[in-house]
Subunit: 342 residues, 2 copies
């Protein structure tokens, strides 16, 4: 393996992923995934269980990259911090379900574990969910569905993305969270005693040999997850990727910046003053999130994303805003800037 090959960390259970990829490609089991081997199968390596793999693979399309599954977002972050991985691809928000709280908690970095990690890009991935049942249990399909399902399985994020179907047809039905949508499909494939269903991808249905009772059950056809791509600020990277190229002032592409900060809540107007700084430097606020500071109850860490179209006038805008923010906040951190991919 070439020494300069990129290593990309993402969330995924190693065993099931490597098993699935291997079984489709009929190659010896890899300890990690080689992008050129799977990229041709990416339409088959569908979403849900493969959501994070797909995002990682697509973000690094046309790159000699190796995809490293990690069991948690924190582990993927640690891999970047410790330079075991060059990049990590982590979901930040979903267009239907909102922010990914676990990712915000990593960005809060309350124990200063990830001081060298920064955002260098973003990737948008559209997802589709299916309602899956054990083979043969509903031979007449959704049209003949009799309301007899008594238990539902999926990953916690998926419930909120399928709320319309769930509240119309599965109100009051017991829900069990499992670690992945693929795991949900697997459980349903083995359930014999009850009428269970899983929310997972088409791919998971094929892989686990279960029936698709209903396709595309997500509330919104444009149900999209935005991933952030993280790298280590201290590493000389082996290649400059397309999404990392610095914007020039002749381009129309917006650049986004993520800044986290905390304020003195006892000081009236402190939050408004901090937010004013963005406006004063021509930075348009595009998202605000908060998490508990965990230092004192009812105090928060704020995560502000702002955007600007690069120009000769505003090329220092983020630096100047950060300078002002340092005086107006208890702490603030620049998580980096990147090209808007929307």
């Amino acid at each position: 393996m070439p020494a300069n090959r990129l290593k990309v960390a993402f969330l995924g259970p190693p065993a099931s992923f490597s098993h699935q990829v291997q079984s489709q490609l009929q190659i010896p089991p890899p300890s990690s995934f080689s992008l050129p081997h799977i990229i041709g199968r990416i339409e088959f390596v569908s979403n849900s269980c493969f959501l994070f793999l797909q995002a990682a693979a697509e973000s690094f399309d046309n790159t000699d990259a190796e995809l490293l599954p990690h069991v948690s977002f924190a582990d993927a972050f640690t891999a970047v911090q410790q330079q075991v991985a060059d990049y990590a691809v982590i979901p930040f928000e979903n267009s239907t379900n909102g922010s990914v709280v676990q990712t915000l908690d990593l960005l809060a970095d309350r124990n200063a574990l990830y001081t060298d990690v920064e955002v260098c890009g973003e990737y948008y991935l559209t997802v589709h969910h299916c309602l899956l049942v054990r083979k043969g249990t509903y031979p007449s399909g959704w049209a003949g569905y009799d309301g007899s399902i008594t238990k539902l399985y999926t990953h916690p994020q998926a419930w909120g993305q399928c709320d319309n179907l769930l509240s119309q047809h599965f109100k009051g039905i017991e829900r069990q969270d499992v670690s992945s949508t693929s795991k949900a499909a697997e459980i349903v494939s083995k359930e014999m005693g009850e009428h269970a269903a899983a929310i997972a991808s088409k791919f998971a249905a094929e892989h686990h040999g279960v029936d698709i009772l209903k396709e595309n059950i997500e509330d919104r056809a444009d149900n999209t997850t935005r991933f952030l791509i993280f790298r280590n600020t201290r590493v000389e990277r082996p290649a400059q990727l397309e999404f990392e190229q610095p914007s020039t002032s002749t381009e129309a592409t917006t650049r986004k910046t993520l800044i986290s900060f905390a304020i003195d809540h006892s000081s009236p107007g402190a939050l408004a003053n901090a937010l004013l700084i963005f406006k004063a430097h021509g930075l348009n606020l595009t998202s605000i999130n908060t998490r508990p500071s965990l230092k004192r109850a009812w105090q928060y860490i704020f995560f502000v994303e702002c955007g600007r179209t690069p120009s000769d006038e505003n090329k220092e805008a983020v630096l100047k805003a950060l300078d002002d923010l340092r005086h107006a906040t208890e702490f603030c951190r620049d998580w980096g800037s990147w090209k808007d991919q929307l």
Copy 2:
């Protein structure tokens, strides 16, 4: 039952609640709870499974109120909107785990279902969690715990509140979400084939006859949930409760206000301009939350709480701010003002 008796809606499974309350009090099964009957038992009617009941009961202490369990926050909201209940007591945020997303989604009120519902008060409730196991499985207690638990059960909100213990001692252990912490204790009491544990209250342990392996496992001793109390704006209430009394300008009590709004995201500076309005009228921003608008992807509904110490000068501040906000936003809604109880 007197016609003017207050009806208070909260989240709780009717069957298990009425069964438990009844069995403790040895009275005939009630279809709803009579506050004077249970208030003396409130120290026994502990948190977790009884969290919402406890908050509802304590908020209406010394009041002739009837507590009505509802199976979802939405059902409790509907009860207030349809004047079936006078009040609803709904969790808004937890000091460790952050905002309650389901409540924010109700407040987004995207289908205008709750146009007559407003906030009239708040209540702070401190919670404690325990790690529970089947009777007799760990006779030497936590000190002799051998790491053999293979599965954990609790309500989704509880995981994040016990993260320290979970990440230190239960990393990678399978987690199953269940509908309540009490349900988790019940499942564990019946598990025979595996080493399972539940996160739930002391009360749940007693009720379901399971052992407490470890007490007070929450990350922070001050782990507190803030509830909002909702009423119908169109109803003449039978009694003015203490927390509803209007503040006078001679009191030092802060009054809080909750306002939701959406902005035109294509207009640069629109969010900063909206937030500036609060500052311009002397309203201190105390919390900001966002949820997807679900009209267009990556557009949000904002929930801003602001506070002020009432004075003759600022008694019109909220009305004036709302007036300005109506010009600066796509929509805005006043969710009401109430006495800060912190």
